[in-house]
């Protein structure tokens, strides 16, 4: 409160005459403010010192290039999944071959020093665990039940016999193959086609396939 009215204007906002003088700015020297943003790449006022170029530096440069090249060739360099832009090219086959040759190599590590989830066998263990509950779903009872219903259906609607055959095939496939999407599609077809819910009982609802959920190591949610 006491500060109000003293000095010129808000003392916090602009500098008083005395203060300006203390800063080394004399009257009339206050240059207008520059509104334009500074250039992105300002011009260098002084030319920088030259970098050393001797045998040692050359050696280091070569060694560095070699090292990086080695890393790029090694499996330590993690590559993206091969992307395609939807255009088939003659060279695709060779590119894929080259990529796959690099991809299949596993980084040579001391696995004992790694956490279990990073070890290569960890994947197999997980897959086995995921595969284990599958036979439960397709036990003898379920198959019998399903076959019964299919029989009924065949009698009821002769027209749709072809389609159900298809479905049956997928049933068989399901034991070996776990292509989720295809099955999901068929599942939907069932529901739309005849409105019964038997298919829902039968089909895996996807819980066991979800990679994310069967990991216990998701950690706490922060």
């Amino acid at each position: 409160m006491a500060g109000r009215g003293r000095g010129r204007g808000g003392s916090n906002l602009s500098l008083t005459h005395d203060q300006l003088q203390a800063l080394g700015i004399a009257r009339g020297e206050n240059t207008p403010q520059n509104v334009a943003p500074p250039p992105l790449f300002p011009k260098l006022e002084v030319k920088p010192l030259p970098l050393p170029s001797d045998a040692a530096t050359d050696y280091m440069l070569i060694v560095k290039e070699q090292f990086i090249e080695y890393l790029h060739e090694s499996p330590a360099y993690v590559r993206k999944e091969a992307e395609s832009d939807g255009i088939e090219r003659y060279s695709d086959k060779y590119k894929m071959l080259a990529l796959n040759a690099k991809k299949d190599k596993v980084l040579d590590c001391v696995w004992a020093n790694m956490p279990p989830e990073l070890r290569p066998q960890a994947k197999k263990v997980r897959k086995a665990a995921a595969a284990a509950p599958k036979p439960k779903l397709s036990n003898a009872e379920a198959i019998a039940k399903r076959l019964q219903t299919l029989e009924k259906k065949e009698i009821q609607e002769g027209d749709e016999a072809m389609e159900t055959n298809d479905n049956e095939e997928t049933v068989k496939n399901q034991e070996v193959n776990d292509d989720e999407e295809v099955e999901d599609e068929h599942e939907e077809e069932f529901e739309i086609d005849d409105g019964t819910d038997y298919a829902n009982n039968y089909f895996d609802n996807g819980e066991d396939y979800d990679e994310e959920d069967d990991n216990l190591d998701d950690g706490p949610v922060y």
Binding site: R6, G7, T16, D18, L23, G24, V46, P48, L49, L51, P52, S53, A56, T57, Y59, M60, L61, V63, K64, E65, F67, I68, Y70, L71, H72, S74, P75, A76, Y77, V78, R79, K80, E81, L107, D108, C109, V110, A112, N113, M114, P115, P116, E117, L118, K123, E211, E212, N215, L216, D217, D218, G219, P220, Y222
Partner: protein
């Protein structure tokens, strides 16, 4: 752990391991420890790629992990180790110049493998150069070199995994290095058989960066002394450092006292190389003590003089030099003068007491110091040289005094001072006087250099330019990727044709697929990339000095 550092780390990962590892590294850098599930969710990468990246990071010791509970593992990035990746060429150069090409090969292979058993290492190199008659590399020679490198501490044993009860997650425990006893006969037999399945070897080794850093430090100190005084003094510094390793910890801020008698003996044994040094040891010691930038300090007179090597002080001096150089190059020599005059600390630390005046400095400065300390000049100077810490608290300077000391025109001086302040080289401490009746509250502004903070500024500058260099090089590379690729292909084809002995005309035809303008562009790119790479190495040298300085805790 600053933003700038994160950017450099990210760029280095990208350069060495590709975009995916970079993404994972970024995430780890910005969030600290993370379990794998979180990484998958946040980076949006497939799980197997995250796993691959983590493997890479762990393998090259760029990240660590620690169990969060029995099943979940937290991963942490080690940004300091990532920064070391640009120093690898320097390690190799060191090896090559000090121990020859065999040692270089060993270290190179070990750096590439990150961790490796001795047998595999030796076997791999020996098989690689089996057909190379010129170099005549034998597995036994390599073995001897390996053992001498382990003995010298350049290679150390990698930490060993230990399983705690009830947990599957290993804990890495560092182990003391024991010089290995490798069976020559088994190695030779393995070479004959062409595989190493018969040899059981489960001791893993890795490169000990710290040992290399000690070498670099010694080299810097010796070089500094050589440039400041002469080669004999540099040699003396080398002897001092040699002796230091015997009695004190290698990174000790100040070594335990070293006896001059021993040094003299050492000089006598080197008398044939450096006769002058042997002749004038005492004089050289005196000069080193007085004019050696405070690298060496006389701590006692017992046994004809005792000396201590001050690594911490050397780091401080070198950082100061680097910063001064920085100011000179960025803002000109006048700004550097202001920087120097606001940095009283330097004056007192390096100034010598000779009677009551400061040798080689204007007398005005010393008066100023005594005024500042409110003590008589000679007492102040004496105390100052006894313990530098005293000065750390009193190093403020008024604006007018800057002007006087830097001998600049008022306006220019102020402009440069503010410029320096803007770039965080000097800081200001306002001292408010109680408001006198009616008038404005007056304040005195005291300027000073907070060396620790300024060193951070320097470090950040290094990071920033390093990042710029890396980014620019990456841009340069990606912009001309197609051309470079073409050049490489032409080269391989030509090489193949030469091997097959095809006529020169055909080779020329292939070579001409690269048009002259393309060649010109390629040459430009090559030159620029080389320049950027060199800049990277040079920046790393600066970075090393800053890191050395920050190794010692800050004394207020």
């Amino acid at each position: 752990m600053s933003h700038q550092m994160g950017r450099v780390v990210s760029a280095i990962l990208e350069r060495h391991f590709g975009e995916i590892v970079q993404k994972v590294g970024d995430d780890l850098f910005s969030y600290g420890g993370r379990p794998i599930g979180m990484l998958v969710r946040h980076t949006g990468l497939p799980r197997n790629q995250v796993v691959d990246s983590l493997r890479t990071l762990l393998k090259f010791d760029l990240a660590t992990f620690e169990p969060y509970n029995e099943v979940v593992v937290d991963y942490k990035l080690l940004p300091e180790n990532v920064l070391l990746m640009i120093r690898y060429p320097r390690y190799l150069l060191q090896m090559k110049s000090k121990y020859g090409s065999e040692a270089e090969m060993l270290v190179e292979e070990l750096l590439q493998q990150a961790t490796c058993t001795a047998t595999t290492l030796l076997f791999n190199i020996a098989t690689k150069f089996k057909d190379d008659k010129e170099k005549s590399i034998t597995i036994l020679g390599l073995k001897d070199m390996f053992i001498s490198l382990v003995t010298a501490g350049y290679i150390q044993q990698a930490p060993v995994a230990e399983l705690k009860e009830g947990s599957e997650i290993p804990t890495l425990i560092p182990v003391a290095t024991i010089v290995p006893d490798l069976d020559s006969r088994a190695l030779l037999q393995a070479m004959n058989n062409g595989h190493i399945n018969d040899i059981k070897d489960n001791i893993y080794w890795r490169v000990n960066y710290d040992r290399f850093h000690l070498d670099f430090r010694d080299e810097i100190m010796i070089k500094a002394i050589t440039r400041r005084i002469d080669e004999n003094a540099g040699e003396l510094m080398r002897f001092l450092l040699e002796k230091m390793y015997l009695t004190s910890a290698p990174w000790a801020p100040e070594s335990s006292p070293l006896c001059a008698v021993e040094l003299r003996e050492r000089c006598r044994s080197a008398a044939t190389d450096k006769p002058l040094l042997h002749q004038f040891v005492d004089q050289y010691l005196k000069v080193l003590e007085e004019n050696g930038g405070g690298f060496v300090r006389r701590v006692g007179d017992a046994g004809s003089g005792q000396f201590a090597v001050r690594s911490r002080h050397a780091a401080l001096q070198l950082v100061l030099c680097a910063l001064e150089h920085c100011v000179t190059e960025r803002l000109g020599s006048k700004a550097a003068r202001i920087f120097r005059s606001s940095n009283l600390e330097r004056l007192i630390v390096t100034g010598k007491v000779e009677g009551k005046t400061l040798r080689g400095r204007p007398i005005r400065w010393s008066n100023h110091i005594s005024k500042e300390l409110e003590k008589p000049m000679n007492v102040a100077m004496h105390e100052a040289t006894e313990h530098d810490e005293l000065i750390y608290t009193k190093k403020y300077i008024e604006e007018d005094d800057i002007q006087k000391n830097a001998m600049l025109v008022n306006k220019e001086c102020k402009q440069l001072t503010y410029k320096l302040m803007e770039e965080h080289f000097i800081s200001v401490q306002p001292m408010r006087k109680p408001a006198s009746a009616g008038g404005l509250a007056k304040a005195i502004y005291l300027y000073h250099v907070k060396l620790h903070n300024v060193a951070y500024t320097g470090l950040e500058m290094c990071y920033r330019s390093l990042h710029n260099v890396l980014r620019r090089a990456a841009h340069e590379r990606s912009a001309h990727a197609r051309l470079v690729d073409k050049q490489r292909r032409v080269r391989t084809i030509v090489h193949g044709m030469r091997l097959r002995g095809e006529p020169q005309r055909n080779i020329d035809d292939v070579e001409e697929t690269l048009t002259p303008p393309e060649l010109a562009v390629l040459q430009g790119v090559e030159k620029r990339l080389k320049q950027l790479s060199t800049a990277e190495l040079e920046l790393d040298r600066n970075l090393f000095i800053f890191k050395w300085y920050f190794m010692y805790p800050y004394v207020e």
